[in-house]
Every structure is written in structure tokens, then in C-alpha cells.
């Protein structure tokens, strides 16, 4: 419903812009799918927190992917500002929020090794722990990120960024997802094609039947969300130009 209304709006505004429709759809589909990838990555990082012993290599790779997306979105200017009062601040804040998110994953593992190790390391027990993760060991790994008593200013920006993250990860009806993408030429699974920079000239190839692939592995995929509010904002910008 929302998606269709959106498209009509696009068409209405671009009657006099030649070829812009195709370009718009390509660009917005790339942005959509890039956003999906970002959301998926953030969910994966959060799941890292929930797991008993997060795999550090996986966390680092996902965090690096998130950073890449953020950097590109910052360059594009599509990185949304945090809040009205923070509109003037550099997008670096959003980068910081993800840093905190990522950091917490391996800070839990960053506790000092057992004393009497004799491995040639001279590390004070406190120096390894960052200010956000308090001196006490977390009681419950999954809740530690959200319940830490950090310094005031950290906490403020932390909560702000959490809000955004929760916003972008707000649960949407799966059928709504279908509708969202139904008007986009390239099916969801062509995210790969688009993101690898191989923009199809005319029409992207049909879905390769990866339904089998996705169906075999339920899990975080169902929680891959897109922020409709952000999409609206992005399209607004594109339309206005």
C-alpha cells in the first residue's frame, strides 16, 4: 500500500524528467538494498551479543561491513541525522553509535586473562576495560550492552543511537516487505547483483530461485527490515532535486 502510493508520487513528479524514472528506480533500489544490508548486519551484531561466546572474527567482519556502508552513505549524504538538535553535528555520531554496538561484543571477551599468566604481558586489569563496559563483569551478556552504567554523556548518545537502531529494526509485517519490493524491478535476491556494482542495463535478471536457499535457513533473515521513514526521506530528496 505504502509502496504503491510512493511510486505514484514519483511518477507524478517526474513527468517532465526524461529517463529519470529508470535512474530513480535503480538508485533507490540500490539504496533500499544497501539499507537492508545495513539492517541485516546490525541485527547480526546484536545477535552476537546474545550468543554465549560470540565469534570475534565474525563480529569484526560484520562490523567492518557496517562501517563500509556507513561511510558510503555518509559520502552519498543519505546518512540520516540523529535528532533535530543534532542536525548540525557531523554524521560521525552515527558512526560512533555503531562503534559502541560493535565494541560491546568483543569487550565482553576483552576481560583480562587470569593472573599469574606469565606470558610476558604487562597489562593492568583496568586498562583493558573500556569506560562504557563498567568495571564489574556483566551478569548477563545479552543485557550488558543495554544496562551498563556508563558516564553520563556516553549514556546520552548511547540511548539516542539505540533508539535509531531500534527504529530501523522495527518489526514489519513480512507481506509488507513483499509489497515494498514488488514495485522494484530487481528482486530482493538481486541485492548481490546491485551491490557488486554490476548494474543491469535494462532489466536485472530474474530471481535465481534462491527461495530454496533462504527457506532452508530461517533465522535473522526474517528480521531484515527497512526503514520506511528513511525511504520516504530519501525519495523526497531525490524528487526535490
Amino acid at each position: 500500500m505504502f509502496a504503491r502510493g510512493l511510486k505514484r508520487k514519483c511518477v507524478g513528479h517526474e513527468e517532465d524528467v526524461e529517463g529519470a524514472l529508470a535512474g530513480l528506480k535503480t538508485v533507490s533500489s540500490y539504496s533500499l538494498q544497501r539499507q537492508s544490508l545495513l539492517d541485516m548486519s546490525l541485527v547480526k551484531l546484536q545477535l552476537c551479543h546474545m550468543l554465549v561466546e560470540p565469534n570475534l572474527c565474525r563480529s569484526v567482519l560484520i562490523a567492518n561491513t557496517v562501517r563500509q556502508i556507513q561511510e558510503e552513505m555518509t559520502q552519498d549524504g543519505t546518512w540520516r541525522a540523529v535528532a533535530p538538535q543534532a542536525a548540525g553535528r557531523a554524521p560521525l555520531d552515527r558512526l560512533v553509535s555503531t562503534e559502541i554496538l560493535c565494541r560491546a561484543a568483543w569487550e565482553q571477551e576483552g576481560a583480562h586473562p587470569a593472573p599469574g599468566l606469565g606470558n610476558g604481558h604487562t597489562q593492568g586489569p583496568v586498562s583493558d576495560l573500556c569506560p562504557v563496559t563498567s568495571a564489574q563483569a556483566p551478569r548477563h551478556p545479552q543485557s550488558s550492552v543495554w544496562e551498563m552504567d556508563g558516564p553520563r554523556e556516553n549514556r546520552g548518545s548511547f540511548h539516542k543511537s539505540l533508539d535509531q537502531i531500534f527504529e530501523t529494526l522495527e518489526t514489519k509485517n513480512p507481506s509488507c516487505m513483499e509489497e515494498l519490493f514488488s514495485d522494484v524491478d530487481s528482486p530482493y535476491y538481486d541485492l548481490d547483483t546491485v551491490l557488486t556494482g554490476m548494474m543491469a542495463a535494462a532489466r536485472p535478471g530474474p530471481c535465481e530461485g534462491l527461495a530454496g536457499l533462504a527457506a532452508a535457513t530461517p533465522g535473522p533473515s526474517s528480521s531484515c527490515k527497512s526503514d520506511l521513514g528513511e525511504l520516504d526521506h530519501v525519495v523526497e530528496i531525490l524528487v526535490e532535486t
Binding site: C57, L61, T65, G110, N119, G120, H121, T196, T217, C224
Partner: protein, 426 residues
């Protein structure tokens, strides 16, 4: 043997230096050792088969009370020590603790003590008037495994590799951020030789993924990273080998760049050739062979399953993109082997440049049957014997394989099943 038990999933496979023994470790912390039958002169056509020799529980699940986290008992790696006497020694490790196990045979038992009575109680010395020397009598063969050393509390992060040094006195253990050097005799101390942990963990962008000693030079080792680089270090240069002697990295292909480029470049395994002249690395889609004398690019690159390149987003979604495949050399360094999905594994002949895809599955291979080469159809028309990319079963992954040190015998771990394949006897 139908077994859906999670703890039976094989997590490591390794032949010993003669190929007489084959060890497997599983998710449940167990080690199973197979021994090759002596080839009998009577049955010339019956090549030595591998039978179970010893089974023992190497690691148990533990609980880290400080972090409220469980420590898995899964065996990440097994490495054999060269045999120096009648007993066999191997190192096995889980995420946190390395153990040295001694596997020895007992086929005789002393009998005839007269210092103890039949129930084993010591007899009153006053009642003993003669001294009888016990005699060794044969008994049924018993293979026992005993833990001889436990190397614990040296790793904050998860151990991904262990490697025995060619001096046979030391070995190294590597986790995500550090590498430690141990002496076999000393368990309460290890030397840290590599530390890539940043002062500020926020700056962490790269981890250690695998490490190995040079097969002949006891001062040289390599370690690979999640950014697709390999560093060769010389322990003579300094105590802490944070500065590499050589740095191997292939320049990125800009036309292939995507958000997944870094993830698929992450090296999951690194292995020296038996000659010590080359190293082989495995990343998500390829196997590469590097000449130690050329750092700027590999000398050979083999595509394992390039048809997955267009599916990377889906593979990222279902986490398959993080699967860590291993790779192995054959005894003469002429063929390399690695696993893939759908229980497929691939072999590449470095000389002829030919490659083959084989499948390790019960349905498709009866004992003594010849394996049929498999082919994945990428697009368009699918031939009768081919399988299409979308039909591949990504839950059936072959991560661990091993090659006999001198013969064409391979061991392939497919989830909780072990397959052993041999050259056809003419």
C-alpha cells in the same frame, strides 16, 4: 550409522607423520583415532583399511564464571607429534585449553606378585617367606590415552590453530588476537610472540585466523588474517614478532569490489607445503598458492566454487559466508584439496591444471566403488548428471579434510561422517 546428534559433528581430521594413524576430533570433545591395518601378504588386493584404534574424551565443557560464558568442548585442532618411542603423542585443543595426550598400547600384564593377596591387599610381610618375581604374560591389546600435559589459561580469545615446531620441543597456539609459544615440558608459562590487540578495542578491524610453523625452519612461522593477508615472522628478529619479515597480500581487483569483498578475502586456513617453499591459503571462494619469495601476489589461484559469487548476499544472510574451509597438500605438493558445499570436495592438480569435484555421500558411494566426478551447472541448460547451484545443500559442508603424508589416501569429514578414500588398486 544414522546419528543426528550434534556432538558427533567432526571438527578436525589429521593423519600422523607416517599415515599409520588418523585422528578425528568432534564437537563433543571426543577424539577418535583410527589405525591402518597391516597389509597382509595373503590378501594382496586388500589395502590396509583404517579401523578404530582408540577413543577418548579429550575436553569437557567448562564454564567461565568470570564472564558467565560457556567454554565449548569442541575440538578445534589436533596435531600429532613425530613418533619418538613406542607411544604416540598428539596435541588437541578446544577454544581455550591445549592438551598433550599420550596414546600407548598395553599387551602384556605382570602376573605372579606374591606381595599382595588375591583381593589386592598387602600381605603381612611376616608371612612372606619367598620373593617371587612377576612374569609378564600376554593380555588382550589395550590402547590407553592419558593426558600428559594441560596448557591452560593462556588465551583470552578463541584458539584457532596449533602447530608443532620442527624442533619438536616447542609448539605455538594462536587465538584471534595473540599467538603464544610453548615448551612441551612447561605448562604454567608461555611466551607471547604475536599480539595484534589494539590498545583501544574500538579500533579492532582485523583478527588472526590461522597460524603454522615452517616445516623445517624452527624460527619461522606464518599467520593469516581476516583481511586476506599473510605475515611471515622470524623469531630470531625479536621476542615479540609484531613486525613481520614478509607480508603477503594480493592487490584487490577493483572490478570485483562489493560490500562482501573483505569478508570473502578473509583467510580461513594457511598451510606450508611439505617442501617449505610455498604456502597455500583458503579464502571463501578460492585457494591460492604463494611462493615465499614473492609477496605481492600468489603464483596460483584456484576457483573452488565461483558460482557462489553472485549469491554472496544470501550466503551472508544465512551465515554461510563465514564458514571456515580448510585446505591440504598431498605428500608431493603436486595436488591440493579443499571442501565445498553439498558434501562436495575439490582437488586441483598443480602440474596438469586439471581439477575435479567429488562428493562424499553414502548414497553415491558404496565401498570400493569409484567416485564419479560431479559438476555444478551454473546457468542455462542443466545436463543430466549436473546439479544446479540452487539445488546445492548448504548445510552439508566439507570443512575438514586430510591427506596421507605419502600415499593417495584422503580423509574427508562430512558433518558427522568420516569418509576415507584410496587410490584404485589395479
Amino acid at each position: 550409522m544414522q546419528n543426528s546428534n550434534n556432538t558427533d559433528i567432526i571438527s578436525t581430521v589429521e593423519f600422523n607423520h607416517t599415515g599409520e594413524l588418523l585422528a578425528t576430533g568432534d564437537k563433543g570433545g571426543r577424539v577418535v583415532i583410527f589405525q591402518r591395518e597391516q597389509e597382509s601378504k595373503n590378501q594382496v588386493h586388500r589395502r590396509g583399511e583404517y579401523n578404530v584404534y582408540s577413543t577418548f574424551q579429550s575436553h569437557e565443557p567448562e564454564f567461565d564464571y568470570l564472564k558467565s560464558l560457556e567454554i565449548e568442548e569442541k575440538i578445534n585442532k589436533i596435531r600429532w607429534l613425530p613418533q619418538q618411542n613406542a607411544a604416540y603423542f598428539l596435541l588437541s585443543t578446544n577454544d581455550k585449553t591445549v592438551k598433550l595426550w599420550k596414546v600407548s598400547e598395553r599387551d602384556k600384564r605382570p602376573e605372579g606378585y606374591n606381595l599382595k593377596d588375591e583381593e589386592g591387599r598387602l600381605r603381612d610381610p611376616a608371612t612372606i617367606t619367598t620373593l617371587r618375581v612377576p612374569v609378564l604374560r600376554p593380555m588382550d591389546l589395550m590402547v590407553e590415552a592419558t593426558p600428559r600435559r594441560v596448557f591452560a589459561n593462556a588465551h583470552t580469545y578463541h584458539i584457532n590453530s596449533i602447530s608443532v615446531n620442527s624442533d619438536y620441543e616447542t609448539y605455538m597456539s594462536a587465538d584471534d588476537l595473540r599467538i603464544n609459544l610453548w615448551n612441551f615440558e612447561i605448562t604454567n608459562q608461555s611466551f607471547n610472540i604475536v599480539d595484534i590487540k589494539p590498545a583501544n578495542m574500538e579500533e579492532l578491524t582485523e583478527v588472526i585466523t590461522a597460524a603454522e610453523f615452517h616445516p623445517h625452519h624452527c624460527n619461522t612461522f606464518v599467520y593469516s588474517s581476516s583481511k586476506g593477508t599473510i605475515r611471515l615472522c622470524d623469531m630470531r628478529a625479536s621476542a615479540l614478532c609484531d613486525r613481520h619479515t614478509k607480508f603477503f597480500e594480493e592487490p584487490e581487483d577493483p572490478s570485483n569490489r562489493s560490500f562482501f569483498s573483505e569478508i570473502i578475502s578473509s583467510i580461513s586456513d594457511v598451510k606450508f607445503s611439505h617442501s617449505g617453499r610455498y604456502i597455500m591459503t583458503r579464502d571463501y571462494l578460492t585457494v591460492k598458492v604463494w611462493d615465499l619469495n614473492m609477496e605481492n601476489r600468489p603464483i596460483e589461484t584456484y576457483q573452488v566454487h565461483d558460482y557462489l559469487r553472485s549469491k554472496l548476499c544470501s550466503l551472508y544472510e544465512n551465515d554461510c559466508i563465514f564458514d571456515k574451509f580448510e585446505c591440504v597438500w598431498n605428500g608431493s605438493d603436486s595436488v591440493i584439496m579443499t571442501g565445498s558445499y553439498n558434501n562436495f570436495f575439490r582437488m586441483f592438480d598443480r602440474n596438469t591444471k586439471r581439477d575435479v569435484t567429488l562428493e562424499a555421500s553414502r548414497e553415491n558411494s558404496k565401498p570400493r566403488a569409484i567416485l564419479k566426478p560431479r559438476k555444478v551447472c551454473v546457468g542455462g541448460k542443466r545436463r543430466k548428471d549436473e546439479i544446479s547451484v540452487d539445488s546445492l545443500d548448504f548445510s552439508k559442508k566439507i570443512l575438514h579434510t586430510a591427506w596421507h603424508p605419502s600415499e593417495n589416501i584422503i580423509a574427508v569429514a562430512a558433518t558427522n561422517n568420516l569418509y576415507i578414500f584410496q587410490d584404485k588398486v589395479n
